[in-house]
Each structure stands twice: as C-alpha cells, then as structure tokens.
C-alpha cells in the first residue's frame, strides 16, 4: 500500500499491541519487517495505552485511521478523517481515502 503512495508528506505510526494469546512478546523481525517504509515509525504498546486512549470500552486493534494535516491531539485523541477495522476489510476504502486526501491537500497547498 505504502509502495503505491510515494508522497513524502505522509507519516505512519504502527503500534503493535498484545491482543491474542500468542502475543506474549514484542513483535519479532518478521512482523516489523513487513513494513519497511522509511515514513513509518513502529512502537510496542504492551499496556495497550493507545487503544485505551482511542476507545475505553473495548480493545482497538487490527485498525487503521487517517488524520489529515493540521489536526492536533490536545485533550482527547482526535476523531480521524477515516478509520476502520479489520484492516483487510477496509484496505480499499483506506487506500482511496488516503490517496484522495493527499491529492486534495496537495492541490490546496499549491
């Protein structure tokens, strides 16, 4: 997906968190290596702090969200422009939203 989108003005935060019974350790080389893009920063969130910050009533995982430029996180975690889960089901919508959003941002900035 990121290979298709060469726009450097995209920053990706990948947060790994323990959800399944088998998630008793930080992501291994196989998991981390699946996202080799230089625009990505990866984290290991063992207490699932980000999931709690997004939603308190259940675990947020296998989840992707887009935040447009200009949006800031002040008190509560901001509502995304687009979000969905599981990733495999929303990947097409996500791709469309990301590309459309970037195109709009680029044309608006020029």
């Amino acid at each position: 997906m990121l290979r298709d989108l060469r726009d450097p003005n995209v920053r990706v935060f990948v947060v790994w968190e323990p959800v399944l019974v088998t998630d008793w350790h930080a992501p291994g080389a196989g998991a981390v290596g699946r996202i080799p893009d230089a625009r990505v920063t990866q984290f290991w969130d063992s207490p699932r702090a980000l999931s709690h910050a997004i939603r308190r009533d259940h675990i947020v995982w296998d989840y992707v969200a887009i935040y447009p430029s200009g949006m800031r996180w002040s008190d509560a975690f901001p509502a995304p422009q687009f979000s969905g889960a599981p990733v495999v089901r929303v990947i097409d919508d996500f791709r469309r939203q990301l590309i459309t959003g970037r195109a709009a941002a680029s044309s608006g900035g020029s």
Partner: protein
C-alpha cells in the same frame, strides 16, 4: 488469555506435586514453564517472570545434576523436560527483545502516550496514518 492462565495454573500445581515426588526434579522445570505462561498475562511483570524462569531453570540443572541415583529412564525424562524448558525460556528471552526496525526507520520503541502525542503533533503538517496491530 484464559488458556495461558489455565496452563500456568496447571503448571504451578503440577510443579508443587512434582516437588514432592522423589528423584524427579520436574518442579523447577514446570515452574519455569509456568512463569513463562504467566508472562503473557502479566506483561508488566514480564521481566521479573522471565528472570524467575531462568532462576528455576538453573535450579533444575542443579537438581538434574544431583539426581544421579535415579534410574536411566528417569534421567532421560529429566533431561528431556530440562531441554524442553530451556527451549521455551530461550524462545521467551529472544521474543522479549524487540526486533530491530527496517532500514531507514527509527528503532522500535516502547510506547509512551505522551511522547507519542508529541510525535503525532510534531507531524501535524502531514497526513498521519495510525495503525494498531497484533504481532501474531
């Protein structure tokens, strides 16, 4: 999670029983494996539990070395269990160390909400994508 807890509990009970049995140093091995299972449930305690697992393995090695009066079968069983426990704990130790990030990326960092918020806001001039995934 429930399965891990159950297996850990079973391991703990089994280790107590094994500790009472003669000439079979299963206790430390099972305790080592048991605490490994607990590590999945109590991630915050993981470093201590892994250390405990290593300690129990060391005790197991000492007991296995001392248990020379046992029959050949028992010794073979001891060694088999010892090797399995060692493999399990070694896998846990390697798993506990986060993998290095791919080239061009910063190291995989332990997540802290405040520093993540700063990073998120620092990139406010760009479109940001946040992905939450399970390692397995």
């Amino acid at each position: 999670m429930r399965g891990g807890t159950l297996s850990s509990s079973v391991a703990a009970v089994a280790s107590a029983l094994a500790a009472l049995s003669c000439c079979l140093p299963l206790g430390p091995f099972l305790l080592a494996a048991g605490s490994a299972g607990f590590a999945g449930v109590f991630l915050s305690l993981q470093p201590y539990l892994i250390a405990f697992s290593v300690l129990m393995l060391a005790v197991g090695f000492v007991q296995a070395f001392r248990a020379r009066k046992c029959g050949r079968r028992r010794r073979a069983l001891n060694i088999a269990v010892l090797l399995c426990s060692t493999g399990l704990v070694a896998a846990m130790l390697f798993g506990y160390v986060p993998a290095s990030a791919p080239a061009g990326q910063p190291a995989v960092a332990a997540f802290h909400l405040d520093s993540f918020r700063q990073s998120f806001n620092a990139a406010a001039d760009r479109t940001r994508v946040v992905v939450l995934l399970s390692p397995t």
